[in-house]
Structures are given as structure tokens and as C-alpha cells.
């Protein structure tokens, strides 16, 4: 092979810096293959993980009669929202039960399609329509007055609990058998101030609105 030649015709190999190029190609090819395998595996894992529904919600605000939530289901199967409870200042054993607003009920908006996201509205439930055992859990008018007649009720924290029947519910063979999942969000009372003032009798500094 002549001095200074860049390619050996006998051994079919490059000389000088170019000889590393073929190794680089091999390494890149190998890494690409590995990456492809991992990506395919990851997609498979995601596909399997997302097979079941997974529902989350965020409280977006309110009007004078309803609390609005954005609800998203990142799974491929549908889920069902079954129960809604507003808890004031993390008081255990006390709640304000809510239900899907009138307009959403005939549309079946409590069913969240796979990969879907919607906005639903929640309004107060008449105590008389609740099971008797649950009526005693409702925040009484005296307790409401104690919370909301205080002009500083905006400093309170609300927790909204939503029971969701995901596609893997009920699970009787789980470590903890369950009939549904309970999703929660804590948020400041001021986010639903119109609802508090008009549906719960909340007062603000300067008098009742």
C-alpha cells in the first residue's frame, strides 16, 4: 500500500483518522438499535399502563350555584364519576354533598371517555334525597354560619373529594379491595367565592352580598 494512501484495497480498511469512521458507524448503529428497542418497549409499557382509565380533576371556579371542574382521563378506557364531597377546612366526618348539575345529568357527563377531558358543574344536593345515614354528615346551618359568617372565610381551605370508578374497579383481589378510587384536590376557598357567597351564605367584609 503506497505511503499516504487513505484506503487499503487488500484489507478493505481506511487508514488514518478515517479508519475510526467505520467504528463510529457501528457504534451509532448499535446505539440506534438499542434506542429503538427501548422506545418500542417503553411504548409497549405505556400502552399497557394506559390500558386502564386514570382520571384526574382540577377545580376551575364557580358561579353562584355551581362549582366547575376540569376532568381528564389519561387512560384508554372510560371512567365514571360517582360521588362528590366538599370538605371545609379538613373537618373529618363533615361534608357538603354535591351532585352533577341539572344540565349535565341527561348528557351523562359523569362518564369520561378514554383520553378525553371535559368540564362538569356540581351543585348542592337536597338533604332529603340523601340516605338517612349520610344526612348527619352534612355541614349543619350552624356550622356553615360559623365558617362563612366570618368575613375571613376566604382564608379557609376546601377539599373536593370525587369518587371515580376506574376501569380496573372494583378490585376484589387487590391488597386493599376497593370499589372505586377517591381523587382529591385541596384549593383555597377564594377560588369558589361566588358559590360560597350565594349557595352557602358566605359573607364578606363590608356585609353580606
Amino acid at each position: 500500500m503506497p505511503r499516504g494512501a487513505s484506503h487499503c484495497r487488500d484489507c478493505k480498511s481506511y487508514q488514518g483518522r478515517q479508519k475510526y469512521f467505520q467504528y463510529l458507524v457501528m457504534i451509532v448503529g448499535f446505539l440506534g438499535t438499542i434506542f429503538g428497542v427501548i422506545a418500542a418497549g417503553w411504548s409497549g409499557v405505556i400502552y399497557i399502563l394506559d390500558r386502564d382509565s386514570h382520571t384526574e380533576f382540577k377545580v376551575s371556579g364557580s358561579d353562584d350555584r355551581r362549582i366547575f371542574l376540569g376532568v381528564a382521563n389519561s387512560g384508554r378506557q372510560s371512567s365514571t364519576l360517582t360521588d362528590f364531597r366538599l370538605i371545609v377546612n379538613e373537618q373529618t366526618g363533615k361534608e357538603i354533598t354535591l351532585e352533577l348539575r341539572d344540565a349535565d345529568q341527561p348528557l351523562g357527563k359523569n362518564v369520561i371517555a378514554g383520553g378525553g377531558s371535559i368540564t362538569v358543574g356540581l351543585s348542592r344536593v337536597l338533604n332529603e334525597t340523601l340516605p338517612v345515614w349520610r344526612r348527619g354528615r352534612q355541614l349543619t346551618s350552624k356550622e356553615q354560619q360559623r365558617f362563612f359568617a366570618n368575613p375571613h372565610w376566604v382564608d379557609l381551605t376546601f377539599t373536593l373529594e370525587v369518587d371515580v370508578v376506574e376501569s380496573d374497579d372494583p378490585c376484589t383481589l387487590c391488597n386493599r379491595p376497593r370499589s372505586h378510587h377517591t381523587r382529591t384536590q385541596r384549593f383555597p376557598a377564594g377560588r369558589i367565592q361566588t358559590f360560597v357567597r350565594k349557595a352557602l351564605g358566605g359573607q364578606i367584609l363590608g356585609g353580606q352580598i
Partner: protein, 225 residues
């Protein structure tokens, strides 16, 4: 015994869980009251803060949402109320709970009563504070506090009693512009007589007592405490 206590606790917890609202639905049964335009809604006997509802026939559900109706927060169930219909009034009824357009609502179902009723205008001089109390069978006391001038709307005199309560006796008291008490009149300090009845048809004078009687029923009494 334990069972009884448990039931009592359950009852008390359920009873205490009354819900409150500032929306009312008013149903007035009977055809004789179909031509109404303006009515007064008296909640929990508070006639001083009676809620004036104009265009009464236009809708049935009234709320303070988006209106200037001063409806206070009331229990959706069991809140007593009555109507003043302008020349008539209703008996008292208790609210029943319901829900309309996502709002908890206290529903009142009144029966139109065709018995006549009259406004009673009360004037004192000098203007002093006084209270009147209305008593109608089936109703809790309905009352109001005023100073100097007041009008008790739609008093159904044949079955309803109107009591006036004064801290001190005024020099002059007129009911429906007719003098009842005048300066220098010798009056019992505890129970003051109405010498002349207000301008109400069928009224009879009862000169030796301190009560006005109509058709044999005591209808207007005055008390000085």
C-alpha cells in the same frame, strides 16, 4: 335505652342539618287571587322586612341572585311565611325543600283566602318607637318595629288581632288617621283604650275597655310597658 338514645342522636343530627337558601318558590292556589301584581312575602314573622315582589304572576321562583330582592338565607324546610295580597292575606305555611335550576329552594304553597283585610296606618306624635304584633290562628307572631309611622298591611280583622306596644305613651296616637289617644286624656298606664275604631266596616266601639272589637272579636289592643 341505648337504642332510644341512638335514635335521638340520629334524629337530632338530621334535624340540625337543615340547609339554607335565598331562593323561594311561591304557589298560590285558588282562582280568586289570579289578578295579583304585587305581593308582600313575610318570612318568619318579620313583617318589618317583608319582601315586595312585583309582577308576581310572571314567574314562580324568586331568588336574590341577579335581582335586588332582599331574600335572606332561610332554612329550605320548615320556614314559616305568609303573603299580603292587597286587600287579602294568606294563612301561614311552612316551606318544603326542593331544587330548581341547580338551586336549593324553599317552596311555599299558599291557599288564596278571600276574606277581606285592611291596611292599618299608625301615627304617633311625637314620633316614638313602637312595635306591633299580629296574631292569627295558625301563625306565629308576626311583628315589626317602627318609629312614628307604620302601616300594618292587610290585617284580617275578623280573625286576626293587632297588638301595639309602646315604651312610653305618645301624646297623640292615630290609627287610620282617626284619633285614638290625645293629649290630656286620662288613660290607664298599662292598657290604653281605643276610643274610636279605625275606619273599618263593621267595627263596633267598646268604650269602657281598652280594646277595639269588631264582630265581637278583639282586634286592636294597645299596651304601654
Amino acid at each position: 335505652m341505648k337504642t332510644a338514645i341512638a335514635f335521638l342522636c340520629l334524629f337530632m343530627s338530621v334535624a340540625a342539618a337543615a340547609q339554607r337558601t335565598d331562593a323561594v318558590k311561591i304557589q298560590l292556589l285558588g282562582t280568586a287571587c289570579s289578578d295579583l301584581h304585587t305581593v308582600l312575602l313575610v318570612l318568619k314573622g318579620d313583617e318589618e322586612n317583608a319582601i315586595r315582589i312585583d309582577d308576581f304572576n310572571k314567574k314562580a321562583v324568586w331568588s336574590s341572585d341577579g335581582t335586588d330582592l332582599p331574600i335572606p338565607f332561610i332554612d329550605v324546610k320548615g320556614t314559616p311565611a305568609s303573603l299580603r295580597l292587597g286587600g287579602r292575606r294568606t294563612n301561614c305555611v311552612a316551606s318544603a325543600p326542593d331544587k330548581f335550576n341547580d338551586k336549593l329552594t324553599a317552596v311555599f304553597v299558599f291557599h288564596c283566602d278571600e276574606n277581606p283585610a285592611w291596611n292599618v296606618k299608625i301615627n304617633t306624635w311625637p314620633p316614638i318607637g313602637f312595635r306591633y304584633e299580629r296574631s292569627l290562628p295558625g301563625c306565629d307572631k308576626e311583628q315589626a318595629h317602627y318609629e312614628g309611622v307604620a302601616t300594618a298591611p292587610d290585617v284580617r280583622f275578623y280573625s286576626e288581632t293587632l297588638d301595639l306596644f309602646f315604651g312610653t305613651l305618645p301624646f297623640s296616637l292615630r290609627v287610620n288617621d282617626y284619633p285614638i289617644v290625645e293629649h290630656n286624656v286620662d288613660l290607664d298606664h298599662r292598657h290604653v283604650a281605643a276610643k274610636i275604631v279605625p275606619k273599618i266596616p263593621g267595627a263596633q266601639l267598646s268604650p269602657n275597655s281598652y280594646e277595639v272589637k269588631i264582630a265581637g272579636l278583639t282586634t286592636l289592643r294597645m299596651t304601654v310597658k
